[in-house]
């Protein structure tokens, strides 16, 4: 009988991160990768050189500091700026508390916001004192309420109520009331951009859900009208619809109904994003298993009850990442309102460039605004990726 021989134990190849090995695997694995790497290095060298010389020697950044207030709040009256401050502070407290109570994702988002606040507070350039002040207070508030939130788990319900009330309170605060009210036309800059995006996504929600349900309804009249609305709106560019809002709304509405252009833009953005929201929600509705509908019917629930208590909660949960994506798209699309002469960030930039003192500063201003947009959208898409992972969408 043959004797069994054991091969001597061999250690697995080392997986230790060796820089030389890494370079070989990732940059010079074969001749064409080497060639590509070298080409890319040459290209990057020229690109960086160009960008570097432009940013640090040629660009005339002096256009930014004096216009920073305009870019952030537009023509919002200077003595009323405390209203914006109030909104930011309450938001900071809510964020801090949520981060402390729920940890996880909230913590990440909040710390990102706190970082932005800290950066603004410590900016080495000349910014006006109120902005720096606001940034310092907001960052401190976040930190303090975070620490408090960790010990105050029973505040949970109040924080949720706070978030729900945040939106109406924000509108009330920014608009004011009575003699001191601030016309929406004075809203501008980044403030207006954010308001338009938030209003658009919040207000389109109910309409979008109704349209989605309408599109899946068994009643042909309702189904066809929903389909017609959704498809026509989705088939048209937003610019044309914005122009329609500003040129045709006055024709179709009674003579005494003359909302100002900011309100009109809000209406248009809401109606526009409702069509897209409807399609997103429809996706969620389709993802709810048929058994859920049937079970609900079997227990004797009527259609409205089936939808509100059984189907919609499941459908909406699964489309949260898509809705975040839509919010990002809407956030970018709000820049189009500058074409109909609204002064959100981009509109403010155009206004600044119209000033003879600042003509020819296009590249600097555009790059600055692009960076602002980039920070916001990049952060949001990052968050949506985390949300997606946490909800486990697409996993089951």
């Amino acid at each position: 009988m043959e004797e069994l021989t054991f091969t001597p134990e061999i250690k697995p190849p080392s997986t230790k991160k060796d820089p030389k090995r890494w370079l070989k695997d990732n940059l010079f694995s074969n001749w064409y990768n080497t060639l590509l790497t070298l080409l890319a290095i040459v290209l990057l060298y020229f690109l960086f050189k160009g960008v570097y010389t432009w940013v640090f020697t040629q660009a005339k950044w002096e256009v930014i500091p004096p216009n920073l207030r305009k870019l952030s709040v537009g023509k919002f009256p200077k003595d009323q700026l405390w209203r914006v401050g109030q909104v930011i502070y309450v938001l900071a407290v809510l964020m801090g508390l949520s981060a402390g109570i729920w940890k996880g994702l909230n913590q990440q988002i909040t710390s990102a916001v706190a970082c932005v606040g800290a950066v603004i507070a410590l900016l080495p350039i000349q910014v006006n004192t109120s902005l720096r002040e606001a940034a310092i207070i907001a960052t401190t508030l976040i930190a303090v309420s975070y620490v408090l939130g960790r010990d105050l788990q029973n505040l949970k319900r109040w924080v949720i109520i706070g978030w729900v009330l945040m939106f109406p309170w924000m509108m009330f605060m920014l608009h004011g009331f009575g003699e001191n009210s601030i016309s929406t036309i004075l809203w501008g800059g980044l403030l207006l951009t954010l308001i338009l995006a938030v209003v658009g996504i919040v207000a389109c929600f109910p309409i979008g859900i109704l349209l989605a349900l309408g599109r899946r309804s068994q009643l042909p009249a309702i189904r066809w009208i929903s389909i017609a609305y959704i498809e026509v709106v989705r088939g048209m560019p937003l610019v044309t619809i914005l122009f329609m809002g500003s040129l045709m709304l006055p024709i179709f509405m009674p003579g005494d109904f003359r909302p100002d252009k900011v309100i009109r833009a809000m209406i248009v953005l809401t109606l526009f994003s409702a069509a897209y929201m409807a399609e997103n929600v429809r996706g969620g509705l389709q993802a709810v298993p048929r058994g859920q509908y049937e079970a609900a019917q079997a227990v004797g629930l009527a259609y409205p009850q089936t939808m509100t208590f059984i189907v919609l909660p499941q459908a909406l949960r699964s489309v949260i990442p898509t809705i975040v994506g839509q919010f990002i798209a809407l956030f970018k699309d709000t820049s189009l309102v500058s074409i109909i002469a609204l002064t959100e960030v981009l509109g403010t930039a155009d206004e600044i460039l119209g000033d003879p003192k600042w003509t020819g500063y296009q590249p600097e201003l555009y790059v600055f605004i692009a960076v602002i947009y980039f920070i916001f959208t990049f952060a949001m898409s990052h968050v949506s990726q985390i949300v997606e992972a946490e909800l486990g969408v697409g996993k089951h």
Binding site: L27, L219, I222, I225, P254, I339, L346, Y373, T377
Partner: protein
């Protein structure tokens, strides 16, 4: 007679309720439409612009420098058409360039080369996260800082880039063109005859000697003949015709600087360039993501199997992965194309006269806002419908052989 005791009264009958519900809904919609209509009529009466399409025959009164020749004395209808063509021009060119760029960056994002992968990722993140309007304005602002016309940037004295736009050579037919086209026709006819003769000859001569199953079919003979006989025949005739026709049938016209402007060739205006570059770059970032997603969705085993059979990396990608990724890519790609076409309406921000901008120009002088918006709506709906129909056809065509 037994009456069904459980039969509900008619106002609780589902069938009745369904009808009632729809009637009420339609009444509501009709009431709203009526309300809008009444307001519109009274509004139009006040403005003094009764609805009519007769304005289309009137003089436009503005110039369009892009696209089809147009001057201020042409009609509004022609202006609208020029606008439609301009939209199509920028959209089609944009779709083409964005697809090429998008595929390059999409594949690059999955490269084994870390540097290439990172560059592609940064490209996608930057251009996806900045609003398109801002990008278009930026590119347009860049064209403003291009050199003056006398100091144009040039490639081989054929392509010129300056503050007035991009000049490139064009091809024009000569007198010899019609003669050459006759040669081409003759080439096609003779190629068909030759192939048919060849196939028939081969079919007859082989038929006796071989088994029924081994005999090449008539169709395969045709394909073989087309490849090896018809194509060379056609090429020979075409090339011979090129030299035999009087003068060269085509001529390349290179733009030339005469005085203060370039003459000849095609001029792409700065507005067109700004819009095109903006649309291309923005959409290509999205297409890159679509392509990456499609490629990653191809089952890993396919790739491994292809490598195991000894295909090179390029072959794995081109003949195994991409053909399977295409059906996954096409639907989202279609919606990107439609987005690009719709986004071309941002032309209004930099003064390029696309269909929407042209219509908007007409609105104030004619006062016909409503018909003009109707026309815009119809134009965009036709565009999106044609694109979807075409892409759906293409998708069916390529997925026919699947699994």
């Amino acid at each position: 007679m037994l009456q069904n005791p459980t039969k509900p009264p008619f106002w609780r009958d589902v069938r009745f309720l369904k009808v009632l519900f729809q009637v009420l809904f339609l009444l509501g919609v009709a009431a709203m439409a009526g309300f809008f209509y009444a307001n519109m009529m009274s509004g139009l009466r006040d403005q003094g612009h009764p609805l009519s399409l007769s304005f289309l025959r009137n003089e436009a009164g503005f110039e369009i420098t892009d696209g089809i020749d147009f001057n201020a004395s042409d009609t509004n209808l022609k202006a609208f058409w020029v606008g439609v063509v301009n939209t199509l021009r920028v959209s089609i060119l944009g779709v083409f360039c964005a697809t090429v760029l998008g595929f390059i960056f999409g594949v690059a994002r999955l490269s084994t080369n870390w540097l290439i992968r990172s560059i592609a990722a940064i490209y996608v993140e930057i251009f996806r996260n900045v609003p398109l309007l801002l990008q278009i304005l930026f590119w347009y602002a860049l064209t403003r800082s291009l050199p003056r016309i006398q100091e144009s940037i040039t490639i081989a004295d054929t392509f010129f880039l300056n503050v007035r736009g991009f000049y490139l050579p064009t091809i024009a037919g000569n007198a010899g063109l019609s003669v050459w086209l006759w040669y081409l026709l003759w080439g096609v006819v003779s190629a068909i005859i030759v192939v048919l003769c060849f196939a028939a000859f081969r079919h007859l001569s082989r038929s006796s000697g071989l088994e029924q199953t081994d005999r090449p079919s008539f169709a395969s003979n045709i394909i073989f003949g087309t490849k090896w006989i018809a194509a060379p025949v056609f090429m020979t005739v075409a090339i011979a015709g090129w030299f035999l026709s009087p003068g060269q049938p085509f001529e390349i016209i290179v733009p030339e600087l005469q005085g203060f402007n370039f003459v000849g060739g095609i001029n792409l205006t700065p507005e067109f360039l700004g819009l095109l570059v903006g649309l291309t770059v923005y959409t290509s970032a999205y297409i890159a993501e679509v392509v990456r997603g499609g490629i990653q969705a191809v089952v890993k085993g396919q790739r491994e199997a292809a490598r195991a059979v000894g295909l090179t990396e390029a072959q794995v990608l081109l003949s195994v992965v991409i053909p399977q990724a295409i059906p996954i890519i096409v639907p989202p790609l279609t919606s990107q194309y439609l987005n690009l076409a719709k986004n071309s309406s941002l032309a209004i921000a930099i003064g390029f006269l696309d269909v929407f901008h042209v219509a908007q120009r007409m609105m104030v002088p004619t006062g016909q806002t409503i018909p003009l918006f109707g026309m815009i709506m119809v134009t965009y709906l036709i565009m999106s419908l044609t694109t979807s129909v075409f892409m759906n056809w293409y998708n069916r065509h390529i997925t026919r052989f699947e699994r």
